[in-house]
Every structure is written in structure tokens, then in C-alpha cells.
């Protein structure tokens, strides 16, 4: 029928497809452009405000001023880039979570993965759990480990009843409460100094960023994104529900397991280095969904880009809202994110979930 009918319709479907593809590209490019601008402003902002043009020249390697170069390259760029990378990892993992759990509230923060990481970090701080690692790496390593454990826990609880999205979400909520209780217990027995350190870690902070940490996050992203894009159409099929995806030929349990493995690596590496940052993983995918829909070929990269953009903007805000002080980024994302999100939901005409 294709031969006879294609002559009749005159390429309307191809035009629609081209339009959808153009829209995905445009949203992605606009997001990346905004990222570049935000990055330069993020680097320029700090205790010593730098002129934006000089920062832009320095980032591009065209600087003449060695003082600016030093500040930019050894202090501010790693922080600014880590903000982008962590934001991208959180946005991406939130996007997949919302897809495979078919739930608009899913994110690493709401399903206990971040709480797991927090507990892991607190364990090192309070009990000094000895890891065969130097001090600055012990906390991230344990945070990463417990983020992965929490992910595995969500999956294990969910698979008790056939890995249905509802069971997985319930498993995540249960783990959130479990880890919060365990964390509270640790805080209860902690010395005042340790308690302060835990609280500060939980706030989330970009200040311990370094080039080596950046490369680790980038490496995880570089592995995760192609893996996810290879499953893009199968993930899109999952949006129609488990049974229909199965009817289309998707091995649903294996797809979910693969996705969970990627989520745990992305979330683990993100929270390990900067602490718990809520909201980015929840909001970025919603933003992406409103703009490009749920074809995962567009949704996943866009979730990553918007996550990066949100955290970069939050980083700028964290240095400017209180002159002379850097407000912990985890506080800023929620304080600015919540009203923004409510506004976003209220103004959208189309029901987007």
C-alpha cells in the first residue's frame, strides 16, 4: 500500500517529522547557548567580581591578564563546570526515572537515592568508617556506594511484585524514610563538630569541586548518555505502559534493570561530590517534556541540558543573593526552583503529564 498511498498524501507526514526534529534541535541548541552564557557569568561571579568580557576571553584561552587567568582556571572554572556536569547528571537521571516509573514525581531526591548517599557520607563523618582511600575521597566513595545501594534497594523491593512502576515508587518512598531515619540516628549520636559537618554536606556545595572530580562525572555522563540513547525508542515505548511496550517487543524487566544501573551511576556520582541537591532532577525533565515531548531521543538530552542550566543559574544565585557569602547550592535550587516550577505548571495550557 505504501507505493500507491505515498503518491496521494504528498509528504505531510515527512513534513511533520522534519518539524519535530527541527524543534528538538532548536530546543537543544538554545539550551546549549544559554549554558555557555550562564557558564561565563558563573565564572565571573564571586568574591572578586571579574569583567565578563575578560572571563570569556580567558575561558576561550585568549586572555592577557595572568591574575584573571589564575582565578578563572584554578578556582572558578572547575566549580562552574562541575555545576554543569552535576546538573546534567541529575537532570538526565530524573528524566529516565520519570520515564521508567511513569511517574511525574520521580527523581533521585524523592525516591531515596540522595538520602542513601547522605547516609553513606554521614557514616564516614560520624563513625570514621575506614576506607582504603585518602580522606577527601572517602566521603564521595561512600556516598556513591550508598546511592547505588539505594537504587538496588528500590529495584529489589519493586521486583518483589513484578517490578511494576507503582511498586518501584513505593519501594523508593520506603527507602527515603528508612535512610532519613538512619541519618537522623547518626546525627543524634554525632559530636557537635561531626553534626555540623553532616549538615553542611547535606546542604550541598560546589566549593570542593576540582578538575579531577569533574573528569569523573564527565566520564560517567559520556558512558551513560550513549547507553540511554541506544534504548531511546524502547524507553519511549515504555511511556505507553508496560503491557503495550511488551506488545511492541520490549523486554520490559531488562530495560528497567539497565536503566536503573545507569541511574545509580549518574545519581551516585552527582551527589557524591556536591552533596544532596533536590529539585533539579525533578524540574529539568518537566521543562524538557514541555518543550520537546516524550520522544526520548529529545527528552533525555534536553533533560540533561536543562539540569545543567538550572544548576549553573543556581550557582550564580548562590553567590549573589547574600553579598560576601556563598549560600549552599542545595538551598538555592529549592528556594528559587519551587516558585519557578509552580509558575511553569500554572502557565502551561496543555496538560503535560
Amino acid at each position: 500500500m505504501s507505493a500507491t498511498l505515498s503518491a496521494v498524501s504528498g509528504g505531510g507526514v515527512e513534513a511533520v517529522y522534519a518539524r519535530l526534529a527541527r524543534k528538538r534541535r532548536a530546543v537543544l541548541l538554545a539550551g546549549l547557548a544559554a549554558l555557555a552564557v550562564s557558564l561565563v557569568f558563573d565564572v565571573a561571579t564571586g568574591p572578586a567580581m571579574l569583567p565578563v568580557p575578560a572571563v570569556a576571553r580567558s575561558v576561550l584561552g585568549l586572555a592577557q591578564d595572568r591574575t584573571i587567568d589564575a582565578i578563572v582556571w584554578s578556582i572558578r572554572l572547575p566549580i562552574a563546570f562541575v555545576a554543569l556536569a552535576v546538573g546534567a547528571a541529575l537532570g538526565l537521571s530524573g528524566g529516565i526515572m520519570q520515564t521508567i516509573l511513569n511517574n511525574p514525581l520521580a527523581s533521585s531526591y524523592t525516591l531515596g537515592v540522595s538520602a542513601g548517599a547522605g547516609f553513606g557520607a554521614a557514616l564516614v563523618i560520624v563513625l570514621g568508617v575506614a576506607m582504603p582511600l585518602p580522606e577527601p575521597w572517602a566521603i564521595p566513595a561512600m556516598a556513591f556506594l550508598f546511592a547505588c545501594l539505594a537504587c538496588a534497594g528500590v529495584y529489589a523491593i519493586g521486583s518483589l511484585r513484578g517490578s511494576s512502576p507503582e511498586m518501584l515508587v513505593l519501594g523508593g518512598i520506603a527507602l527515603l524514610f528508612l535512610f532519613q531515619a538512619l541519618l537522623a540516628l547518626l546525627q543524634f549520636v554525632a559530636s557537635p563538630e561531626a553534626l555540623q559537618q553532616i549538615v553542611f554536606w547535606l546542604f550541598g556545595s560546589l566549593q570542593k569541586a576540582s578538575w579531577s572530580k569533574l573528569w569523573i562525572i564527565v566520564a560517567v555522563l559520556a558512558v551513560a548518555l550513549p547507553l540511554l540513547l541506544a534504548d531511546a525508542w524502547r524507553l519511549t515505548a515504555l511511556k505507553l505502559g508496560d503491557e503495550r511496550a511488551k506488545g511492541l517487543g520490549v523486554d520490559v524487566p531488562r530495560l528497567r534493570m539497565r536503566a536503573f544501573a545507569v541511574i545509580s551511576a549518574l545519581t551516585g556520582v552527582a551527589v557524591a561530590f556536591v552533596g544532596t541537591i533536590g529539585f533539579v532532577g525533578l524540574v529539568a525533565p518537566h521543562l524538557a517534556r514541555m518543550l520537546v515531548g516524550e520522544d526520548q531521543r529529545g527528552l533525555l538530552p534536553a533533560s540533561g541540558v536543562f539540569g545543567a542550566l538550572l544548576l549553573s543559574l543556581a550557582s550564580i544565585a548562590s553567590k549573589t543573593v547574600m553579598p560576601g557569602a556563598i549560600v549552599p547550592i542545595g538551598i538555592v535550587t529549592s528556594l528559587i526552583g519551587v516558585p519557578f516550577f509552580v509558575w511553569l505548571v500554572l502557565r502551561s495550557r496543555r496538560a503535560f503529564w
Binding site: 500500500m1 505504501s2 498511498l5 505515498s6 496521494v8 498524501s9 509528504g11 505531510g12 507526514v13 515527512e14 511533520v16 517529522y17 518539524r19 519535530l20 511513569n102 540513547l229 531511546a232 525508542w233 524502547r234 519511549t236 515505548a237 511511556k239 505507553l240 505502559g241 503491557e243 503495550r244 511488551k246 506488545g247 511492541l248 517487543g249 520490549v250 517534556r289 515531548g293 516524550e294 520522544d295 531521543r297 496543555r350 496538560a351 503535560f352 503529564w353
Partner: protein, 280 residues
């Protein structure tokens, strides 16, 4: 390809949905499945599609020995996915989709959309469609797979009568033209009588009757299976017309009692002039 079902049983927990069901369907043939609510029609289609665990054997022997492609359209077409009609139809070709969609896949999506007169909706989101339009989209998705075995679970339940006839005409034509093996679950006995080549009547998880529409849909079966007194007559074109007159008993049990338990009352004699004729 020929579909052969032997001794099929499906259980959900302690509930038996299907028991000892044997059935076959031939290429180029529309097999209509009818029966009351909860009789096991959907379970039959899902078992054939490989979506539920089952006992017994289902042979989907492809003519050329290759694995038969299945196009399955579920009964429930509600969705919250923010996907366009085109994206949903492309998903029917999941096996061959890559990051870049090939012109072949796009051409096939266009062909099925045109076939069902959905071309102008291609860019619309599923959430913006009516229930009937959505049903057409999922039929298009099933057809986009270029199936050899087409499984449709109540494909026209939300459609107006023009689209009901249009869809069934299309399904029947494609089945005959491309020698598909089509199994379609239907509620409307008249639609089943008009468009199915053969009909399987299922009640309480068992096959009650199987044969040509005029042989199968007759007053006694309708009374036994559906608990409805009906009159049979012939349309001007000779096809069977079923006129339901009144509910005579409680409907058959919904959750799998033995078929013997189905309430049975001798059917009223057909009104004078009622004719049963083989339509085709």
C-alpha cells in the same frame, strides 16, 4: 501464517480466565471472538500476543519459517504519554527504529496513517485526541508493524458508526489482500456477523461455538451465552442481522465458572419471517 491454539489455559492468581481452549485461524481470514464481559476474550488475545503466561500450546507457524510479526492492539488505549500521533505510530516499527528514523519506516507510518485517514493528525499529541481518534492511532501502530498476525482487542469500541464500518472494512480488506491472520475481539454481534469470516464464541473461559457467522450466531447460542433473547433476520445484502429483544437471564458469570453453570433458558421461537441465511 496459520495460528493454532491447543488446550490453552490462562490463570491470574486463583482465577481461571481460560481453560482447555482449542482454536485455529487461517491466513486471509478474519476470526471474530465474541462473548460476554469477563469471558476470557482479552486473555485469549494477550496469550497469543505472548503477553501473559499460559498453559497449552500456541503455534504461530510462519509460512516462510521466519518468526511471524505480530501487530497487537490493546483494548485500553488511554495514555498520559506526551507523544505525537506520528511518534506513537512509529513505535509500531520498534524493531527497526534507530536514532535516525529511516525513510522506509517513515513511509510505512505515512501509509498506515493515510489508510486510516489520520494523516492530518500526525503532529498532534495523543492527549489532544478523542478516545475514538486514539483508538485509530493504536490500530495504525499495530498495522505499522507490517504484521502477519494481527490481534485487535475491541478495536472499534469508541468509534462512531461510520468509523466502525470504515475500520472493519479496512481490516477485512487488508486481511484478504495480504493474507494476514486476523483475530479481532468484538462486542457488536452485527459487526461480527458482517465482517468476520469465522467466529469463536467464548463463555466463562471456554470455547462454546466456532464456525461461520450464520452457523454460530443463532438464537439459542445468544440466549445461552449472553442471556439475551434475539431475533435473526437478513439484511438487504443477505448478511445476518441480530436484533436483541430483551435480557432473559442474568448474564453469564464474569469470573470463570464452568460453562455448564451459565444460565440457560430455552430461547423463544424466532418471530415469524425471521430468516437465517449465510451472508457470504
Amino acid at each position: 501464517m496459520r495460528l493454532t491454539i491447543e488446550d490453552l489455559s490462562v490463570r491470574y492468581g486463583g482465577t481461571t480466565a481460560l481453560a482447555g481452549l482449542g482454536l485455529s485461524a487461517m491466513p486471509g481470514e478474519v476470526l471474530g471472538v465474541i462473548g460476554p464481559n469477563g469471558s476470557g476474550k482479552s486473555s485469549l488475545v494477550k496469550a497469543v500476543a505472548g503477553l501473559v503466561a499460559h498453559g497449552g500450546r500456541i503455534l504461530r507457524g510462519a509460512d516462510d519459517g521466519a518468526a511471524a510479526r505480530i501487530g497487537y492492539m490493546p483494548q485500553d488505549t488511554s495514555t498520559r504519554a506526551a507523544l505525537t500521533v506520528l511518534e506513537a505510530v512509529l513505535l509500531g516499527r520498534l524493531g527497526s527504529l534507530g536514532l535516525r528514523v529511516k525513510p522506509d519506516d517513515l513511509a510505512m507510518a505515512r501509509a498506515v496513517l493515510d489508510e486510516l485517514d489520520l494523516g492530518r493528525l500526525a503532529g498532534r499529541y495523543l492527549g489532544e485526541l478523542s478516545g475514538g481518534q486514539r483508538q485509530l492511532v493504536f490500530l495504525a501502530q499495530a498495522l505499522a508493524a507490517e504484521p502477519k498476525l494481527l490481534l485487535l482487542d475491541e478495536p472499534i469500541s469508541a468509534l462512531d458508526i461510520r468509523h466502525q464500518l470504515g475500520v472493519m472494512q479496512t481490516v477485512r480488506r487488508l486481511t484478504h489482500e495480504r493474507r494476514l491472520t486476523t483475530v479481532v475481539v468484538l462486542h457488536d454481534l452485527n459487526i461480527a456477523a458482517r465482517f468476520a469470516d469465522r467466529i469463536a464464541v467464548i463463555c466463562a473461559g471456554r470455547l462454546i461455538r466456532h464456525g461461520r457467522p450464520a452457523e454460530v450466531i443463532e438464537p439459542e447460542t445468544v440466549a445461552t451465552v449472553f442471556g439475551v433473547e434475539a431475533a435473526m433476520s437478513a439484511a438487504p445484502d443477505g448478511s445476518l442481522v441480530v436484533t436483541p429483544l430483551r435480557a432473559v437471564t442474568a448474564a453469564a458469570p464474569m469470573d470463570g465458572g464452568a460453562p455448564e453453570a451459565a444460565p440457560h433458558r430455552p430461547p423463544a421461537a424466532p418471530p415469524p419471517g425471521a430468516v437465517i441465511r449465510n451472508g457470504r
